[in-house]
Symmetry: C2
Subunit: 181 residues, 2 copies
């Protein structure tokens, strides 16, 4: 999931050099020796939902790499011009064709190893009919005991599901902030 | 705060074209006609803290643009390889030279107009001595009534301060998720 290194300047196309800029920065950046553009690389946000229907949650079987064939909550990279909640809702429609009412922010999970932050919202399903997009093999509802725990695509999805069912049992949903090492 | 458009491929330096890729994507991306690299641009995270000392919070007077001379909570762009909390703590040390004990996630604010998400943590100050970095003119503690509300640098900082003092009065801190339009 890590991006390939920057080789050329996005502004002028010259080959960049990696060095600490002269502006008080403390990290090496890709700097253009021709036009002085400094290229910053920063973590990406992945936004998604925990769509629920009674005591069941919706999982999607991935039709894309990485983790083809594994189960995930609907989620994807946040885009420019949208809020975290808007992105989470968009991904839920794109990947599952689900009709939802967005609820509160539920988990915020940092994954420093891959430079990502995953944010999941709870979402109430308005129908149990789904229309999976091309990134999804099938969309299916699972109770806690039916969840294919050994076939979950990502640690952040697993942790979010564990938090969801624990909070559901406790009768009270909180926001969970976690780090996946 | 918006980035300039991508003109050249980061991989090979050729001039890019903006078009919808052929992989099922629905958005225009900068695509390289020479090596087929697709360049994605996504929102950036800004991470910071609400450092508190008794009934006062720490603000920093900005020594950099934008908003030079305005007051802000210590915060800055999240870097690769760190968690949101680690980034928030780092910025607090860099901008204020403050000694803190990190507490819980407090606000998550989407700012779709500039493609950013701001995340603030509460942080207990361990000392009221500060050593501002080069990005800060001065660091100062303020009670709620002393806050220079008309001189706050960013809407996300203002909203976070409003949430902080409201929760403090209520005797209970929650996580607040907001959109700044």
């Amino acid at each position: 999931m890590l991006r390939s290194p920057i080789k050329h300047c996005r502004n002028c196309g010259a080959a960049v050099v990696y060095r600490v800029p002269d502006d008080g920065d403390t990290r090496e950046r890709a700097v253009c020796p021709a036009c002085d553009t400094i290229h910053y690389e920063n973590p990406l946000n992945v936004v998604g939902t925990v769509p629920h229907w009674g005591d069941r949650v919706l999982l999607c079987k991935r039709n894309i790499e990485p983790r083809w064939g594994k189960w995930t909550l609907p989620a994807g990279f946040m885009e420019l011009g949208e809020s975290t909640a808007e992105g989470a809702a968009r991904e839920t429609v794109e990947e599952a064709g689900a009709h939802i009412a967005m609820e509160d922010l539920f988990t915020v999970l940092s994954v420093p190893r891959v430079g990502q932050v995953h944010l999941f919202y709870r979402a109430r399903l308005l129908s149990d009919h789904f229309a999976p997009g091309h990134e999804t093999i099938e969309a299916q509802l699972f109770t806690e005991s039916e969840i294919p725990w050994d076939e979950i695509a990502f640690r952040t999805v697993r942790e979010t599901l564990l938090c969801y069912f624990a909070d559901r049992r406790a009768g009270r949903f909180e926001v969970h902030s976690l780090v996946i090492t």
